[in-house]
Amino acid sequence: MSAEVAAVDVATPSNSLAAIARRRLDALKAGDVGTLPIVIGLIGIVIFFYSKNGNYLTAGNFTNLMTQMAGVTTIAIGVVFVLLLGEIDLSISYVSGVVGVVVAQLQIPDESWQVKGVVAIGIAVSIGALIGALQGSFVAIIGIPSFVVTLAGLLFWQGVILYAIGDAGVLIIEDTTINNVANYFFSDTHGFVIAGVATGLFAVTSLAGVVSRRRHGIRTDNLILVTAKLVVFTTIIFGAVIWANKERGFPLAFLLVIIFLIFWTWVAERTTFGRHVYAVGGNAEAARRAGINVRRIRIQVFMISGLMAGMGGVIFAARLNSVDFNAGGGTLLLDAISAAVIGGTSLFGGHGRVISALMGSLVIATVANGIDLLGYSSAIKYMVTGLILLAAVTLDTVSRRRLAQSGR
């Protein structure tokens, strides 16, 4: 349809603010909504609950929220990768439970297999990754739908948890390293150092991008926009630290989440592996013909899913200082998958960003937290979360359709 558009030099489209805004608006009209709905939704949710209850944004509640979210967000990062392929992983919640059990077992004092906390975490998380790779192999090599393989995993690993915990009913975690994962809070100064380092890294990487593009003589990003992004980033991270410092301080668990988010965003958007994940999710046949090893990509993605589920499992176990036979149960599975989807990752594969794990769990956590504060029951919480999920998926489907139509 745009074939008749006047000949524009492909190398140098304008990068003025007006031109960028126009392109963004065009993309929006074509159905590429990006993170816009979720940001608007979040602001709406916060304003709504804050107007109802003044305690909503207190520092104490805020630090609580951050530690509560950490586990689900970590697991949801793995879910994003699986969804990017257009697959699903239903086993994540019980895989996280299994990893929690392994961590708890490995630190039991005076057992012959007792190891240091860090080693225990390392071993347990590797087991999570192995489980993911195993399930991924069934999907990639034998060709069983991931829905079925991971449904089997859901049942199997739940059984394993019950078997491993046995009659004890609960495994207490005494190792301080492990417990610190979810219960350590940085001092005020350390909090600011972390915020400063993060801001510095962000500034350096954005600047490096601009320099590299200029050196190759292609359109650089608009400098005003780059600066604006930096300002927003700085405000958010320092704001979070200042707010958290009014209470217990910035939680280690949330720093881990931020590190995971940055690392996996880097993997997804800046490496060949990430590019190939998007390609396989968008058009597996095209990826295969382009020489991409589709099977290996699938197995690796399920491995990431298992790994991040394991990380989440450690955070949950540390938070409770124990693991019981409910580990991985409850709404964990649905929360993690809904977080990725509500955050804007498409269920149809090929579209989404790692940050959507955080955005989605922010929505779920703020809604749950607000409803708790207002004194409503869980019944209301489930209904509201369900409606938000439905809205997110509807938006995804409709915008996908518009995007597909705009091409012809």
């Binding site: 492909v10 190759h216 800046r270 705009s406 091409g407």
Partner: protein
């Protein structure tokens, strides 16, 4: 009407060895003889059309050359050397690129990402080097005078059919390829876009590439092709020089042509 069988009496432009030549290719699927002793050649700087009715064996021939199907008999020569091609990667190494009808683009990726799919430029950390990729993509499209794509950072999903075809062709020629095989490049396009793609095809030949063009559309072929190879029922009928033949002659060859290499075969009815 001048016509000459390709293998014995080379056509009027024949001054060099063919960039790509298939000799005596046969291929059967079970009891179905898809190709019988077929010859095909394309030289640098020319557009060689490959035409034939449905089931004539055009796609099978291309897939045999590209290494997707193994040959039952016959050989493939590249620049006069006998080569064995066992898959798309072997073909790519020899500078032979095929643009299939369904284009094999990822809709969710942008133009640059599609052009470099599977061959991304990266450093030792496997980090993508976006800037050089973007610069080279812009350069390639510019050299092909593809100017209708307003931003090479837009998703392929938002491009028109002609633009998608341009991206697919651009991807094929970016890798020092010498031979480009296009499978029905204009089949799904409107009039204006067909024109764009045909101009692009001609430009490829002008740049010295050997272009093989599979098409049903004789109008398109007479506009861009230098020579026309006609297949019928899996056999060679003839090779025509475009300047000295007419559409009627070619249509007759497609529908009722008599295979050149097998003596005594009566003209069968088409399916």
């Amino acid at each position: 009407m001048t016509s000459a069988p390709a293998e014995s009496t080379p056509g009027p432009i024949a001054t060099t060895t063919p960039a790509l030549e298939a000799r005596g290719v046969s291929k059967s699927f079970g009891s179905v003889e898809a190709l019988v002793d077929v010859d095909f050649e394309v030289r640098s700087g020319e557009v060689m059309a490959l035409v034939g009715d449905n089931g004539a064996g055009k796609s099978t021939l291309i897939k045999c050359i590209a290494g997707i199907y193994p040959l039952d008999e016959g050989e493939v020569h590249s620049d006069g050397r006998k080569v064995s091609i066992h898959g798309p990667k072997d073909a790519a190494k020899l500078g032979i690129e095929v643009v299939y009808q369904d284009l094999a683009l990822c809709d969710n990726l942008d133009v640059v990402q599609n052009m470099y799919l599977g061959r991304e430029t990266h450093d030792w950390l496997r980090r993508l080097r976006e800037a050089p990729m973007e610069a080279r993509t812009a350069e390639t499209l510019k050299s092909l005078r593809v100017t209708t794509i307003s931003s090479i950072r837009q998703q392929v999903a938002s491009l028109s059919g002609g633009q998608r075809q341009s991206v697919a062709i651009g991807r094929a020629v970016m890798w020092n390829s010498r031979v480009v095989i296009l499978d029905e490049p204009t089949a799904a396009l409107g009039v204006a876009q067909t024109q764009q793609v045909l101009e692009l095809v001609q430009r490829l030949a002008e740049q010295g590439l050997a272009v093989a063009l599979i098409s049903h559309n004789l109008h398109d072929i007479f506009e861009v092709a230098d020579r026309i190879t006609v297949l019928r029922l899996g056999r060679n009928v003839d090779v025509f020089d475009r300047r000295t033949t007419t559409q009627q002659t070619v249509v007759h060859a497609i529908t009722a042509g008599i295979p050149t290499k097998v003596a005594g075969i009566a003209t069968k009815d088409v399916e």
